[in-house]
Amino acid sequence: MTEMLSMSNNWPLFVGIMLLKLVVVFAVTMLIVAYATWCERKVIGHMQTRLGPMRTGWHGLLQPIADGLKLFFKEDIIPAQASKVPFLLAPMMILVPALITIAVIPFGKDVTVGGFTVPLQITDLNIGVLYILAFAGLGVYGIVLAGWSSNSKYALLGGVRATAQMISYELAAGITIIAVFMLSETLSLREIVALQAGPLWGTITFLPDWYVYKQPLAFGLFIITGLAEINRTPFDMPEAESELVSGFCTEYSSMKYALFFMAEYANMIVISAIAATLFLGGWGAPLNIGILNMVPGVVWLLAKVFAIMFFFIWLRATLPRVRYDQLMQLGWKVLIPLALANLAVTGLVVVLQL
């Protein structure tokens, strides 16, 4: 085992590799954000026996670029009655937490560069899971501020709904994740992925030891609460086109509106990546067979992320929006008790096995 590359042993190499990792991860995320919009329109189109975008490029492949250019050249309107500073801050405060959460997602095996070990992850925090929860909590501000500062009743209603929804579901999401790191006994995502590599239950050799097999309930709860956290159908109450025009971003136009749009898809990527890392073995192969383990970890991570994102899009084409009281009932009376029960059972199992 070679030494870990850090600021103290070879700083020019460290800084260079860090910048490279940052640029690559940012570029890939942005590319996925752009093409997730295309995928969503295509997939929902085909599910509803339509074609979706077809005109720009082959099967509408250039549609995201055309949309981006269109939004870029639109007039940027700030309502006269709006509070200027929060109005300008809101789109940034929603996108930034989403993007910096990706920093702790590991995306491959360690590689050796110039005699040093380099982890394929922007940074390995030993509080990785808490970091994710912290920034998920900060993501609420963007929506709250957008809703309030627009000084419009639709936007305010969207913002108020979003706050109540995200605070309620954050609790359930947090409790669900605790069950996972009770098993892993670490908060570092890199170690959580490494722990999921072994044979299932220590006996079935061809299957990896993913936490989804040990914590199926937690996985289900995390996906549901994740959907609510990123305000997607069936929990898109804050936007609710049919009742609130466009919810919290009604008054936004041009690139500021585009930022909200990007944040929605960036959040979707983040939730999928976290679910893949915590429950589906991160960058590990789905079967412990030699030939599958040869494939680079990035491929598996992206495959899992895309699979979960496809599931989210599928849900959007299938389910109607829940009512507000149903949303609160589900959050407080079903999900939180289930998450607590799961936590208690997991604790009992962990204590009795040791």
């Binding site: 925090l125 030993n126 929860l133 912290a134 501000y141 709250v144 501020l145 108020v160």
Partner: protein, 167 residues
């Protein structure tokens, strides 16, 4: 490098702390307070206490301040709040001046540099901050920890009783 970074963050903290008091609208004050809390979390990271930093962001910036902003938004206080609450400024200024003097005195006279005690930064690096806090909470300080949790439960029940007209 670290010193420059410290002064930069300290400047931002002090400026946003000032803005909390001086902002025209309560929402802007709330935002400045969020920023102050976030800067405090950065200080925790610089003091090798990443767990405290995460909890600071989750609890204060992520939960409490969201609720406070929520209430401000719902009540729509506007600028009237500023006019109404200016009577204690003089006494508050005197009190904070005394605290500042106290702090300066302690920094000048006390031993603020140099780590004393069992928990050193090297121990935190090897053991992990979360693990150390967890062990301390569940072994040496189990009783206070449990009492605190009972206290929180009482507060929750109290909140429910107050919020509901007929229980």
């Amino acid at each position: 490098m670290e010193t420059i970074f410290f002064y930069l963050v300290a400047l931002v903290t002090v400026v946003s702390g000032y803005l909390v008091v001086r902002c025209q609208s309560p929402v802007n004050s709330g935002l400045a307070l969020v920023n102050t809390f976030f800067c405090l979390a950065i200080f925790y990271v610089m003091l090798y206490a990443p767990f405290m930093a995460a909890i600071q962001v989750i609890v204060y910036a992520g939960a409490i301040m969201v609720l406070i902003l929520f209430v401000i938004m719902l009540l729509n206080l506007g600028t009237e709040a500023r006019k109404r609450y200016t009577h204690g400024v003089v006494w508050a200024a005197i009190a904070s001046l005394l605290v500042l003097l106290n702090l300066v005195f302690f920094v000048k006279r006390g031993r603020v540099t140099g780590a004393e005690g069992d928990i050193t930064s090297s121990l935190i690096m090897t053991e992990g901050h979360t693990e150390l806090i967890g062990k301390a909470l569940y072994t040496d300080f189990l009783l206070p920890f449990e009492i605190a949790s009972v206290l929180l439960l009482v507060a929750i029940v109290g909140a429910v009783v107050l919020a509901k007209k007929d229980v």
